[in-house]
Symmetry: D2
Subunit: 377 residues, 4 copies
């Protein structure tokens, strides 16, 4: 009898890239068994996809509600333990809510909810039910991001005095300059993607990363967002001034009209004793700067890395791992939690990241709309 974790998937069927990402990640440490799913709202397509990827159709359900109802009829030892929610954004909240209420653990794609209010509600439910909840801010699964966090935690940088996070993409550029495209893309439609495009999609990654690696909280923000055409005023670019303490300031910069940038996400943290810098497109390098010393470049898998970082590297130094491996590390952490094994809180982002992230998104938009004023988070 397999001792794998029984895993259910919502969404992610057909050509879904996110579906591939989660399936590969779940397979990476032999911990999960894909046991049931609603990949697709169309039942036939749903079953066909199950066949295509080679899993039994016995627990492929016609819809989410049926799935929950049927799984609850099964003995706990048979029942799916963890669900991954990969559906369109507006479904994240109702699905996660129902799953948590019914005792399932949840791995949820970002954004966690459509509003901050929903996020608070979800948090309350989780606290009551005490389930495991992981939000896939995938980049935190990279070994060198984990190493950065641990070094800061250990005081390698001393007091933090400056933070700077950039998340620049260019993919909206070819869309935004075409009137039809910009008014039909779901990302730019608030009813489908929430009140923010750029901050909601990537600014929030930058924000979460900042809090993740520093272990500090952003207290107040002042945002200046941008759009290029008045017929679509969703933010596609923005700069957010942030304060984490009386003397700890910084900036979050995000753009989807940074033409031809692919996924240029970079974080720099400067402390009294040194600095650490990391870039997502070259994720296997961590730069450590100290006054009057040569720059040190750390790489995954080496003995000088922390236990947390090393736990996220599968091969010897010099064999690059990427985004699938980062997501795999997050699944690995969730598996430990599900199995009641010891794990580090840093192994996967939590409900708290989701709640704070939704607050950040809404507060950014409010700060901008009110004339670029400081707002507390």
């Amino acid at each position: 009898m397999s001792n794998k974790i029984r895993w259910g998937v919502l969404g992610g069927g057909g050509d879904s890239l996110i579906g591939v990402l989660h399936r590969v990640a779940a397979s990476m440490f032999d911990a999960y068994q894909l046991t049931g799913a609603v990949f697709n709202p169309d039942f036939e397509a749903n079953k066909a996809f199950a066949n295509e990827i080679g899993i039994p159709t016995s627990r492929i359900y016609k819809d989410f509600d049926t799935m929950v109802a049927e799984e609850l009829k099964l003995a706990k030892s048979e029942r799916i333990q963890v669900f991954s929610v990969l559906t369109p954004n507006f479904l994240h909240f109702p699905m996660a809510k129902k799953l948590l209420e019914n005792g399932f653990h949840v791995i949820c794609e970002k954004p966690m909810t459509m509003t901050y209010a929903e996020a608070l509600e979800l948090e309350a439910i989780q606290k009551q039910n005490n389930n495991i909840f992981a939000l896939t801010h995938t980049y935190t699964g990279y070994p060198m991001v984990r190493q950065m966090k641990k070094m800061i935690e250990e005081g390698v940088l001393g007091d933090i005095q400056k933070v700077d996070v950039q998340y620049y993409q260019g993919w909206i550029n070819p869309i935004i300059h075409d009137k039809e495209k910009r008014n039909t893309t779901w990302r730019l439609d608030p009813s489908k993607s929430g009140i923010s495009c750029c901050m909601g999609d990537i600014g929030v990654h930058a924000y979460q990363m900042l809090e993740f690696v520093t272990g500090m909280e952003v207290k107040t923000i002042l945002a200046d967002l941008n759009h290029l055409y008045d017929d679509n005023q969703m933010d596609i670019d923005g700069t957010v001034l942030v304060r984490l303490g009386k003397y700890t300031k910084g900036v979050i910069r995000a753009s989807q009209i940074a033409t031809a940038e692919e996924n240029n996400f970079a974080v720099a943290v400067y402390g009294k004793k040194g600095a650490l810098k990391w870039e997502q497109e070259n994720p296997n390098y961590l730069y450590h700067l100290v006054d009057g010393e040569p720059i040190k470049t750390l790489k995954p898998g080496n003995v000088y890395n922390s236990k947390l970082s090393l736990d996220g590297t599968k091969l010897p130094p010099g064999h690059p791992e990427g985004i699938f491996d980062a997501m795999g590390n997050i699944y690995k952490g969730v598996a430990k939690a599900v199995r009641n094994q010891p794990y580090d809180k840093a192994e996967f982002p939590s409900m708290r990241d989701g709640v704070r992230g939704m607050n950040f998104i809404e507060t950014s938009v409010a700060s901008h709309k009110e004339g670029n004023v400081w707002k507390e988070l």
Copy 2:
């Protein structure tokens, strides 16, 4: 009923890193079902490992011969279709041989055999049986290596006039200077690793890569190998002059005493019309140089890449993929072959690469021993 390919694994149990690599790769495109295995020579450990990774023990066999015998008793529709051979080097040949003789397809770790003679024998067997055989020169699975191959094939570089391949590692440095270690490491023991250490392990990767990307054959070589202590004369470093045509010369450089290098494998090809350069530690960049033009840097997943390259990228541009993904691409290619789907020969290295590689290794050693003389391949 799953339509996944029935997949068997030989070796790769316990803490084996190569085992993880192959399992993740096989899972990447939902094409393989791990159906049976001999992970370990110890039957109990073998079954325990199956439990640990959550697969049924019904087709976990006590040894290789039993496995083959038992599988052959099954109906073709139940029988394992492809075996991955991940055992110690000296077992690659006998296992692959028996598998091919009995009609199984084979994915074989490198080196294919211990000797060139064995390689020729294996080739003959495959030709007779017409099975699929893939040799895991994993690096050829990287999207930008594939792109390099296709661009050269399409004539982007014109006639090739210079090739330069480097494979520098430093991992033997801490071993070689310790008398006990250097005389107990299996890699430095010819009875376990064959007549060559450096050329056999990594020089051959460099050689295969050169022929893979250029589509040309190395005709003659002159090798100068090196060791550091006379009590262990296995090559741990070497430079090989190569000629691919009357006016096409180059060099293969490999070392395991390039202190502190991790896996610094790099290939440069210069033609009449331009150059292409790629580095394994930053695998998502391909540099295209043309006289009098800005340097062009190509990245995976972009529209300008070839079909073959794009087939090996799972996410949009800017999301780094790594060595697991490269191996996943090789498994993807083999799956197409097994399923009789159309595929590009470049999707996985073949028996021919193995035969030529073994020839390269033996000829390098001979060239060196005979006083650094030219030898035909």
Copy 3:
């Protein structure tokens, strides 16, 4: 009889690094003859330094006023034509003023003046007298910065939609955390360095670069500056939101407590048709990004560069030039202007850059002090 430009120097004696920089720059194209100087307020030291660097002492004067008076007595054909003002900051204005009033051309170190009011006064004087005035924002002399400017001018990027300039240094970090040092360093003393440290010293470089490369003007700014100890509230860090047009936004980021950064000055400009990026510490690379195309890396001296860029490269491609060469290019441009030869306005920063820069500095401080509010420039 030499046809070199007669050149006078104020300041820059002894161990002055800026003195070396200007002398080398002036020598670079054989255009200037160091004819007279007041290197040092101490007359003996002044003459000794002249001896040390091997120039005649006949026109080494005891002080600035004497120098002007004596030079004015000489025939125009003998008189110094251009003065370089390398004295402490507070002397820039009175010296430049007197020089311009008396018909001399001026090359002035940055900051041009201590206040915006002085800058406006100086501008008025120059307009009246019609002299040549160059402000040494040296970085604009780099060939690839010039190339960036020309490409944007020619429309290669289309409409600009996003700008981001960073200037990060860490040199104040070891000073700021030491109470005695932070209260004795001239840079942190407003009476010696003006009302701003970080914005005045490097923020203004970032600002000038932004306007230089884009050819656009910053209309409004909102600044958030920072200090670390209340006993010294000079800004040592700051982020400035900028708007260059209704839909053209961006950010200037400057810090002197970005621990262990050396001189990490970088500029990125994103337009509808592409992006250009440049970094001062690797000045010989210019990155050109276009949606769906490989990244192009331009390097100095190549045929694809503009005339202006090529004019600033002395050797064939692949021979790195640096900051001395950038300053040399500025001197080359000034020489053309002095000799009434045709030149491009972009060959050296002008009075206008100085006036706008002083405005930027004072407005940044005001924006910050008034609670991070938008201010017009």
Copy 4:
């Protein structure tokens, strides 16, 4: 009266780039006064050029022999002290010879002579006359090359076990494929450039660098050179196996048909205790690798650098210096020697480098012609 060194120049007039390089270098530390010259074989052009660059024509001579004769008539305190020989290659030897015989110091462009025999003759003359002789292997003047040398000298790498030097250019590519061009370019004409093109021009730089940084001597070499058309068999590419000791091997790789490479000169040295790597096109970075430690990147001007390295940096860290600055450092060293001040032998390449270099060139060609055989140097 100026205490500058009286400096004479042979060649380097008109559009000569090498002339600019030497004049700027000589001016860099205020040590040299350009006192006399024969810039050009045409006396009128010669004087016109002197006027153009603003030096008196009183000591511009009609030819080299006149110059030597006239200068010898002057009192020692007036006479030119150091000559820079920038004439076409075939003139280096006769000019340097006569200068040394007559008591002048010499800075000589590379190649020192046309043949090894001439080099030996020149060495004998210098020994007799005891003059200062510097050969402008300019790259050794870079601060990080000097740092590399000093670190190896101090034992930071331990015993050297592997060396690898690359010098790849592509500039001959557009020439070599054009029959007329390849048979009219002086570089490819043995009567003008000596018996070797690639080895003589750049291979020798790589060789000298290897011996410079390691402080070791290459004992034996085996060369494989290349040409692309039989109607011009000058080497334009080549790989040279080198041995510096029983267990110290390596390779020198040089090419002028590495299409579109600019000046890709790189040196890597691997020792028992670590490795150092440097690249000419990014000269301000030195990489120090040690087993199990983060990679260290050293940059110029920092306190951790050696005295010799720091002596070659004029500005604070983060202000890139380039090839002109490297040549300036060589002139600075020569100035110290001329003035009998203490200096480090590593401040400028010497006669010995020239002699060994000519031997390397001739021996490479011989090794190749005799069938790629080992030859002693």
